[in-house]
Symmetry: C4
Subunit: 242 residues, 4 copies
């Protein structure tokens, strides 16, 4: 009999999310997506070390929040697991985490220019997008967030927000579920592209008001809106109808 | 016997227009296209709530101008139907309406930079592209145009023009028929991209004169020009020969 | 027996060139490519009025330099035929002509910024790229070059050069043969993109010297270079091995 | 029996690298990739003169470091072979060389703007990217590096670095092996795109520190990181699983 367990379905959704984030150019060769185990909040699922573009069902592994594999079977692991574990520890409301290097967000990590929602769809990224820098606390590093102290520091910088930037490196996003995580990640990238384009006009920009961000974000996180975006992403990633 | 009714043919063209607008990156996961019922000017056709990328024949529903479905059959509906109904009420000359969030037009909704035709093909967008803002009249909202008063306000801002922008949100376009609606929408996006690029040179730009806009727009709305563009869009969307 | 005439082979190459120019985003829904009849210098081949993306063998028609069809058979014709006829009249050295609206060249038609070769491959566009404007001589028009006087005026502006820009409209390119015409057209577009990007740094740019343009252009028009580019374009357009 | 020699496997990897560099838009119609013969350090492999997009196994030829073919069999050769031979002579640590015209690096060859690693993945390009100009030493040329003196001059400019730019022409990259060569080339292009985008904000940029470049570059050249990128590139180029 086929495997119809919850874990199996969860793994399938993680594979889908990996393919979607690749297709939408949010994630490239490096970057990863995790989902908290719905049956055990102290564990999460994450692919073995492999590009999201080619992640398959057998690659999805289970980890403790400390990043220990439950059943490694020789599979290599992402060294940046602390990002996921530390965010799940700090944020009980969060069930899904993504880390990526989408090019358009990078300028906002290395220039003194805030990234804020400029159009309604971007309300999902939240009013504030903090920037975390590894230098002040950790000095010259290989730029990976590969220790628990670095993970905790990043989680602290994120605070109660939905997205954060990492200087000279990339971004993280969190979500209550995999679908709004994907939507948040895509629109973080889209909003960054938009701000870069709009700024090229050299004129003051009218950002969404805090009230608009709050009301629009709440609306976009309803299932009808999130599912419409998900179905669209799924079709574009070649899995039409899933 | 197959359904060879006018309504059936009309629905097929709406599906085509949805796919084309997706393929040309005018419409993304959100956005929609309507067509006035050629047999009843007080009704219009519009897809159920679904991304244009995946709209199919069974998704096309009929509505009154007030946005009431004729035969809902449980299908979810776009909440921004007032855009379509109010524009059809205000503009008897208009038979097709599109609403979209093409990225390149967004900077012109949040910066004090007018969007005007900069090259001949863009004459189809018209000499003036007004910007509508929900704030002055409606304050902080979820940014959707989902009430009839908002729809009427937008229709008033559009006036007699062919296109209008919506602050921090997107754009609308109208047409006498589906084919020139699509062409107008595509070239609104293309012209915005062009102005952004040209402005990056930091020099004064020579826009089309009002006379050139009028003469070129009239020429481009002749069937020979509109159909050439339509055949091109159809082929690119994968429906070669339709 | 199949048609192995020269005219047949010539028509096949014109279809290929149409597809290539579409694939490389030089030509869009409007725009066209002509080739002088190698057996009769007073005639040229050009597609019926149709987007280059979908041009097929049966669409290729023959015209006199005045733009009269030899065998129309009811096929609609491009109204801008004067571009082709007038350039063939003015330039006996030219056997192929292209007209297109590649977006990246348009800023250089509406801003006071010269378009000159900035990298070696762009040497094929020539040292000077004049800009022709319809306004001084013809006033407000529908922007099409659809009369012989307009065609002659454009030919005069082109002079002995290989490429020219048309204000608020697009560009033309000429070549001794179809292959170097395509290469010239592609690199006119590529060079324009490059200048736009380089200019965004806000610093003085080092263009090729006249001597470099001359020497590099001559080298790139040798068959070994032109054919390497052609084989690449053909493969990308889906006709690998032709 | 099939050819399972080392030379055969090496040739297959060179074909893969050619396809990858095309797919990733690092190399276009012109440009080439070489690999030192692992069994004879005084020879290297390189395709016959052909666009990387369409290079096949039979195109891979062997050359002496002076650029003489071992077994030409009438195949045309790239005239810029001196780039490869001179770099292999000057750098015994280098086993793979690429030359390309990726558009995003070109602005940094013609404007007084240094190209330095702005994000962690770009650490692979090295702290310093020198610019070589053919003018001071060779005057007006056809811009090709097609003589041994030019190749030696370029090698001298490269020094101990991993990448170098060529004024008005393109770039070179070197690697200990084909996989890190490809990764270095891709991220040279990516970093240039990023700097161009970030600079458009008109604010000071925070580049990686020399310590970060050294530590991150070392980490990214470990097999686990290089192979993850390689598997990703291979899948995107259509050779999933090789």
């Amino acid at each position: 009999m086929p495997d119809y367990s919850l874990a199996e379905l969860v793994k399938r959704d993680i594979v889908l999310a990996n393919r979607i984030m690749s297709r939408e150019n949010v994630i490239d060769d490096f970057g990863h997506i995790s989902l908290r185990n719905p049956e055990n909040p102290n564990r999460y699922f994450l692919s073995r070390s492999r590009s999201p573009e080619i992640v398959t069902l057998d690659d999805i592994m289970e980890f403790t929040l400390e990043g220990e594999p439950i059943d490694q079977r020789g599979r290599p692991m992402y060294s940046e697991r602390p990002i996921h574990g530390c965010l799940f520890m700090a944020r009980p409301d969060v069930n899904a985490v993504a880390h990526f290097h989408a090019r358009s967000v990078l300028p906002f990590t290395v220039a003194d220019e805030p990234l804020k929602p400029l159009f309604h769809m971007a309300a999902v990224i939240g009013e504030t997008v903090p920037v975390w820098d590894s230098q002040p606390e950790f000095g010259d590093t290989n730029m990976l967030i590969d220790t628990m102290p670095m993970g905790h520091s990043l989680a602290k910088a994120l605070g109660k927000n939905r997205t954060a930037l990492i200087r000279g490196h990339g971004a993280i996003a969190v979500g209550e579920n995999l679908r709004n995580l994907v939507m948040t990640s895509v629109y973080l990238k889209e909003n960054a592209e938009l701000v870069l384009q709009a700024r090229s006009l050299g004129k003051p920009l009218t950002y969404l008001t805090p009230g608009e961000v709050q009301k629009t974000g709440t609306m976009l996180r309803t299932p009808i809106a999130t599912d419409r975006a998900w179905d669209y992403y799924v079709a574009r990633a070649g899995f039409r109808g899933m």
